[in-house]
């Protein structure tokens, strides 16, 4: 597993992909938080990082599938999947190695945003007048969310030899899971009859809950289930090509 992890991390940072992803993520968030007047925290009545945590999922929705789309599709296209699967490593290790490498990239992208937190912390009046607990919760929520997107991305990448297929399928699945269930719950059929349950199926619901700074086991279990479900699905897809 470690060998795969190292190779993939090296593939990110040995080429432009890693820097590009992190750069795009940080520039977009920086613009939204400090430059665009409609959302700039500088013009906002109180110190908050809400803009970051509202918009980061949207950016992840495109960036994470872009990172994961090549993971298995490229291996299948080039035939290297046969090379990998005939080495004494288990399929689980291959999947986990690639998963953790993608997550490492997400963490690398998120770490610099601590600087944004520090900035807003200093700008608060008095200094430090920001809900640190909620920010911490939101970071944890965002990591879980990215974890779900990454698992979905790997699953989509294992579906076909074509990277574009992987990207489009992953974006669609992420969107469906993140916003889709919320919008579905607005259907008249569900009104007053279990619309909350439909919402609970979506990532959004649990992300919001954790963002308040309360880490509820139910939310954590939800995120871990989604991640587990899609990673297991990835394994099934890869076993099928054997």
């Amino acid at each position: 597993m470690l060998a795969i992890f190292k190779k993939e991390v090296h593939a990110f940072f040995g080429t432009l992909i890693g820097y590009l992803v992190i750069g795009v993520f940080l520039v977009l968030l920086g613009l939204i938080m400090f430059v665009f007047p409609d959302s700039s925290v500088l013009d906002y009545p109180y110190a908050t990082m809400g803009q970051l945590f509202d918009n980061a999922p949207l950016i992840f929705l495109f960036l994470i599938p872009a990172v994961t789309m090549r993971m298995f599709a490229e291996e299948r296209q080039n035939g290297t999947i046969e090379f990998l699967m005939t080495k004494p490593v288990s399929l689980k290790d291959i999947i986990l190695g690639k998963y953790l490498a993608s997550m490492a990239l997400v963490v690398f992208a998120l770490v610099p945003t601590l600087l944004y937190f520090f900035t807003i912390y200093q700008l608060g009046s008095p200094v430090g007048n920001i809900d640190t607990g909620a920010v911490l919760g939101s970071y944890i929520g965002l990591l879980f969310l990215a974890g779900c997107f990454t698992a979905i991305g790997l699953f989509a990448s294992a579906m076909s030899k074509n990277q574009i297929t992987g990207f489009v399928a992953a974006t669609f699945l992420c969107f469906l899971l993140f916003y889709g269930f919320f919008f579905f719950s607005k259907l008249p059929v569900f009104f007053g009859r279990g619309d909350v349950i439909v919402q609970m199926l979506g990532i959004d619901f649990h992300y919001e809950a954790i963002s308040k700074g309360v880490i509820d086991t139910r939310n954590v279990v939800y995120f871990l289930s989604v991640i587990g479900f899609f990673l297991f699905g990835t394994q099934l897809l890869l076993e099928r090509i054997k």
Binding site: A3, G79, T80, E82, F83, L84, T86, P88, K242
Partner: protein, 312 residues
């Protein structure tokens, strides 16, 4: 026996890729796998390396069953897949260290260096794999397969697309490997089988049609010698049929014939005398044994299905 295959059958949908194939190979043996495209060579190799599972039958490598002890099998097999898939954006050294990691080797550098030396990659070791020529890529593929010092090497068309010099190098490498390990390799090139193999397996449409040593194969399946003669005059030399050991007479040209004889006898002198007696002028005479190409065509040719039936 380091490789044993028993009654192996593989079905892809309706298509039978392998039909009840059995063979075995022991340590220090080089086994050549010969057959037309789509005969089932690659499928057999994929089953032996655990990449594909068999529909029926057993296969074991180094005493481990490929189905139930897949990891142990993969540990003791070095595999060069067909078309030699490589990560083109990795560097040679980096790639080999990655392979060492996959094999769970702790301190691989010494092994990596020694393999780079053995496969003659020294000058290219700091290049990106994508920048290497086909011959060098093939060496990287071989180095990758040999890195963890496996007992059994399975090489799927290791010499395809190489130039004649590279061919010689790679063949020598395979020959060296065969001294201490079990090597199974597939090829289209008959001379390669003749030059390298202790034993040859010929497979056609999923059936094993031959499993013999080279000399056995030549004597048992060929069984004939071919004498080509040229005579002045277009009349068929029927008198030759009266000679002992002549089996068939075939015209190849207006004044050229091929005389098929028993492989144990040499009839050239008799043919000459017979021609003189019958007042024919002999202008050409040479003899050859039936080559591996002929055997191969005889065994796998679609027109000659009878011989296939005999061998089952």
């Amino acid at each position: 026996m380091s490789v044993t295959v028993e009654h192996l059958t593989k079905r892809y949908g309706n298509q039978l890729a392998l039909d009840d194939v059995s063979f075995s190979a022991s340590r220090g043996e080089i086994l050549g796998f010969l057959g037309p495209n789509g005969a089932g060579k690659t499928t057999t190799m994929k089953i032996l390396t655990g990449f594909v599972s068999a529909t029926a039958g057993q296969a074991s490598v180094n005493g481990f069953d490929v189905r139930t002890e897949s990891k142990a099998v993969r540990q003791s097999v070095g595999y060069l897949p067909e078309h030699n898939p490589l990560y083109l954006d990795m560097y040679v050294q980096e790639y080999l260290r990655f392979v060492a990691g996959l094999n769970g080797m702790k301190k691989p550098q010494k092994q990596v260096d020694s393999l780079i030396e053995r496969t003659g990659l020294g000058r290219e070791q700091h290049k990106q794999i994508g920048a290497l020529s086909k011959g060098y890529r093939q060496r990287v593929g071989l180095a990758q397969a040999m890195l963890h010092d496996p007992e059994v090497l399975i090489l799927d068309e290791p010499t395809s697309g190489l130039d004649p010099n590279q061919l010689v190098d790679i063949r020598k490498l395979i020959k060296d490997l065969g001294a201490e390990k079990t090597v199974i390799f597939s090829t289209h090139i008959m001379q390669e089988v003749q030059a390298l193999c202790d034993r040859v397996l010929i497979i056609d449409q999923g059936n094993l049609v031959a499993n013999d040593t080279m000399s056995e194969l030549q004597s048992r399946l060929a069984g004939e010698k071919r004498v080509t003669i040229g005579l002045i005059g277009a009349e068929k030399p029927e008198f030759l049929m009266r000679l002992d050991g002549v089996k068939r007479l075939q015209a190849t040209n207006t004044n050229q014939w091929q005389v098929y004889t028993d492989h144990k006898v040499d009839l050239r002198a008799d043919i000459f005398r017979a021609c003189v007696e019958n007042n024919r002028v002999l202008i050409e005479l040479h003899q050859e044994s039936v080559s591996v190409e002929d055997i191969f065509q005889k065994l796998t040719g679609s027109s000659d299905s009878s011989s296939k039936g005999d061998r089952q």
